[in-house]
Symmetry: C2
Subunit: 446 residues, 2 copies
Amino acid sequence: MVKDIVKMIKEGKYIEVRNEITKMNVVDIALFLEELNNEHLLIIFRMLPKDIAANVFSYMSYEQQKYIIESFTDKEIKTIIGKLFLDDTIDFLEEMPANVVKKILKNTDEQRRKLINQFLNYPENSAGSIMTIEYVELKKEMTIKHALRHIKKTGIDKETIDTCYVIDDSSRKLEGIVPIRKLILNDENMIIKDIMDTNIKYVYTIDDQEKVAALFKKYDLISMPVVDKENRLVGIITIDDIVDVIEQENTEDFQKMAAMQPSEKRYLETNVTFLAKQRITRLLILMISATFTANIIRRFEDVLQSVVILAAFIPMLMDTGGNAGSQSSTLIIRGLALGEIKLKDVFKVLYKELQVSCVVGSVLAVLNFIKIYYVEKVGFKVSAIVCLSLFCTIVLAKIVGGVLPIIAKKLKMDPAIMAGPLITTIVDAVALIIYFAMASRFLLLI
Amino acid sequence: MVKDIVKMIKEGKYIEVRNEITKMNVVDIALFLEELNNEHLLIIFRMLPKDIAANVFSYMSYEQQKYIIESFTDKEIKTIIGKLFLDDTIDFLEEMPANVVKKILKNTDEQRRKLINQFLNYPENSAGSIMTIEYVELKKEMTIKHALRHIKKTGIDKETIDTCYVIDDSSRKLEGIVPIRKLILNDENMIIKDIMDTNIKYVYTIDDQEKVAALFKKYDLISMPVVDKENRLVGIITIDDIVDVIEQENTEDFQKMAAMQPSEKRYLETNVTFLAKQRITRLLILMISATFTANIIRRFEDVLQSVVILAAFIPMLMDTGGNAGSQSSTLIIRGLALGEIKLKDVFKVLYKELQVSCVVGSVLAVLNFIKIYYVEKVGFKVSAIVCLSLFCTIVLAKIVGGVLPIIAKKLKMDPAIMAGPLITTIVDAVALIIYFAMASRFLLLI
């Protein structure tokens, strides 16, 4: 496919190429362009009809966007940026180096430049930073007929006209919303005021995007208005950006739960120094915390010296404890993130984890006893101590894993950091104390 | 709020209650009903206007849905179920016990009963199981004026009319889609054929919902048609259901990565037996795999006997290795899930993880050496062996953690199972071999 088109370019069959490409979906065109070298990229991009070009541009890789802006004349830039939706323009400017940003702002009219600067100033991950200004405004006194005529006149370059927003003429305050289907389904002489919905879910520009995403999920929304602190409508957020936010928040949770600094960058586009930095801090903290366990073992050196075989079961005890704790903390962290578990449920969780851990602990302890006493012929006392410790470790791990994320949330910390790695470190230390305390009591006395 | 309304009910102020409630959003009404006892629930639910009632019903908890159906007369059931969208009906029937399902099917007309049975038969998590049949069909010969009149006549109970679907009259094959805004923005004498989009993204009823969600994300869709194997249009999927699918798929990944059987059930609504079962299998497999590490330690018992302090660093080595491996595998699993990393990138990942692990490993090894040799005054040779092993463990963990998920994907397995717990078990064994091999070589020879 790519080869065919490159061949056509080389043969100068530009009209065929253009026909072939404009039949494609814009996302597919962007993916196709990524396969091309810079020379062919420019040729083909210049061939695209202006509307399609701006749309394709917003889906291209940052490298290619940068290259195109650097290669384009001022006039060409003006056309592309003029056709780009404001939220896409902002996304792209945020990633570009200063010289590219400068070149773009130079070719933007003053009014839009002011808007861009305003949008670039919204805090990262706020509703303001993901909203767009391409929406349709109506007045409440309009008839449906009048409204439809207004949309026809102004709606052509709006990102979404599936919902229209009714604002007050002088104060610009949001008064209602009208899904476009209501305009079609009702009689054209009805007044907007009588069909608009005044029970509106909206957010403020400075609200966190996580809160916005939660509202979209709760109310099954497709778009949502954003107001400033005087309740004036300043933009809307659409579901396609929220889907990205949801995935981004999930990625952050995955990274935090694996003891990393969260980052939005794509793995393959991230350099080694950044990746190393992202990982080293928490790894170091956890490594130093593991000193506790080392000290515990050193304190019980005499027990270990007399019964060396005890060392053999340390990894199994610790791994199983860590895994059991991860299971619980993962379920609770996820439940908290989805709003299925609330702070007030802490005792329910505690009780449930206690029950589950007793069941899981007993089953694993018994099976483990059979394995090491009967199969591996380890002495009865050692086998019993190992399995009793295993039971205690699992119960402890599940309770710590279940409760710590809720406590973190209560303390306004992110529950996701109370995941596997941290739980493991905490549980390890206590598990070893139980193990060696039992061992020194029951083995050395003989 | 709840108290106020309950008070009003007790005082018999039903009209005020009704007024108060119908002003609320349907999701909020459902949440409010959850706070009520069964008696008040029935009183208030019966008060709701029929359209709102069906909508509220679809957001209620399964317990309350069940209670309502059990308490309602056949006639009342007929009204509610008749107003319910087909996809909500299916979701709800899937959760209900047999007697409730029977009561509902008895009160459903034959045509709809046939449809329900057909939908219940689509495989779990398939496109068919999440689609709905409430959409607007147009014919390609219609003018816009004609189409708008058709929508006005039939569109009132369609779940989404933001996009209309153009199908062939006799074969029912999907020929194009028309966003409703095109109907409004274009001249009313234009023909549907000339404005419809024929470059359609669609899925088959048996396609997996994960594939559907990936297409929604890739192409920023709001809805998508579903066709049967003869390419006839049979339903549509809307973005609100896809948002649920995305969260569900993420939950599954979180659970698999924490060594659990994935489950869609909410934590607090799941009983202890189920939770224990969900966790025990993989915990057991991992526990038994840890036998390897026990055997390795037992094989090196003589080394350990002579230099007991070696045991003290086993937990630190293993935890750090496990955490380092989890970091890499999490990044790669997530990258694969989001499509940012492809199978062909395996060597790029390998090279990157090698570099990152050398940086991270050196830093941690040097810091650890300073800590145990200078601060804790452990002997030079032991300190050196611990830190060298630490370096090797980190490099190994990151490479295994980076590559195993890609291999899993290559083998058509779910990369998510190649996460922390499994990586830890693998890395533990190799790390201990390196550690003890070095120790027996450099410590016992003296």
